[in-house]
Symmetry: none
Subunit: 225 residues, 2 copies
DNA sequence: GCTCCCCCTGAACCCGTGCTGAACAACTTA
DNA sequence: TAAGTTGTTCAGCACGGGTTCAGGGGGAGC
């Protein structure tokens, strides 16, 4: 678990970082808003402790920019007791929790744990097609609940087909999305993969459209042509 | 200890209630989602067993509404073996544990004990995965209750895998979350740690997904392919 | 019906990935 | 200082899997 501490008071910063390290986090720290913003923007943290009163760029602005840029890590904000309006602004900017100074490190740690755990259970997108379900995060494939072993490339290919199911996908389109750069065009790798996939998930799930490409379908839902 | 059983199959419902009563719980039961939701919303239960496939209101919705309303009791969800995605949705909605049908009542009782104990000793944030439990606070690991000695880095790694169990974690993601800043990218430290962890907690708990990374799984919950 | 071309399939090759044992370095503890 | 942990590196090995090739089958068009 990586944590970022953005706090301008050097003593408090060190104390927080130390506490988090002892709690098992890998901690980076920043002493002003600009540094903090940059670090949160470039490194994948699991949780962030963010003071709102910061030099160079205030905490609310930092948080707003992170959220605009799509950084979704949970953020716990620290506010002084008498700055009640800041707290509201912080929540509006996308904070997940807050704590007013002074506080006990125990309480901070408890809240951090809650945040990281909550974030851990987030969104798992599985694609369904007939009895076929594709767990894009776990890189697993199931047919009617039974796991199917697929290799990395097979999975990429099936995943792409599933994202565009019922559409005809040309060979070149598949190649472009499965492989990094250029690829030997006159090769039958794609066909081989299609064949292997058909063996694993059933012949009738991947239709071949002669001269055009392939199409992933739900075999039972398909009207008898 | 008060328990609520929400299960639409009358036979299974009675069987569960009976088993829990024998174990010393005061049990209420509901046969559909609406009743279950109302009861959980109005009575202070210590633990809830919730089937996901329910008439009138499905289990995930029930759970979501409870959590939105601030009901914090631990919830163990029951899923059919072939509804893998439901399990994930249940966790997202705030479930604490799950069990796939069919199951042994002994296992259900064991998990219930774990849940209530965890809820009782507040902030005992331990992550469970099969018989593997990870005490994030004490940095300790247990297999079926027996302590396992792991080093600091081993623990961080296992902890991260556990926070994202059933997800494939790439080597780089592991490195980024275990180590503070930069790290020699072409090093096989991760593999060595995986190997050592496997020796300690069992080979089948950490799956390697070739070309992608590793995945922490519950070895018993997974049906033999 | 015949032919061409596209597609499928089985097998083999070979490279990369990942696993393992051991040694080494850094650090802590007695 | 010596002994024991813990983290890291290295080299060798095994094998999984991506790629290629050759041959066969079957549509589509004439």
């Amino acid at each position: 678990m990586r944590a970022l501490v953005v706090e301008d008071d050097p003593d408090l910063n060190r104390q927080l970082s130390r506490a988090l390290e002892d709690a098992g986090y890998a901690v980076d720290s920043a002493l002003d808003g600009e540094d903090g913003h940059f670090m949160g923007d470039t490194e994948p943290y699991d949780v962030v402790v963010l003071d709102l009163g910061l030099p160079k760029m205030d905490g609310v602005t930092v948080l707003e920019r992170w959220r605009e840029a799509g950084r979704g890590f949970p953020v716990l904000i620290l506010t002084a007791r008498d700055r009640w309006s800041e707290k509201v602004a912080g929540f509006d900017a996308g904070a997940d929790d807050y704590l007013t100074k002074p506080f006990h490190t125990e309480e901070l740690l408890a809240r951090m744990r809650a945040l990281t755990r909550r974030a851990a259970g987030h969104t798992t997108s599985t694609i369904e097609c007939g009895g076929l379900s594709i767990d894009t995060r776990g890189a697993r494939v199931f047919i009617d609940g039974a796991p199917v072993k697929v290799t990395s490339h097979e999975f990429r290919m099936l995943s792409y087909l599933a994202h565009h199911q019922d559409r005809v996908i040309s060979r070149t389109e598949l190649v472009e999305h499965i492989y990094d750069q250029d690829f030997d065009r006159d090769s039958n790798t794609i066909e081989v993969f299609v064949g292997r996939l058909r063996k694993k998930i059933g012949t009738d799930r991947i239709e071949t459209v002669r001269g055009l490409g392939y199409r992933l379908v739900d075999p039972v839902a398909r009207p008898v042509s």
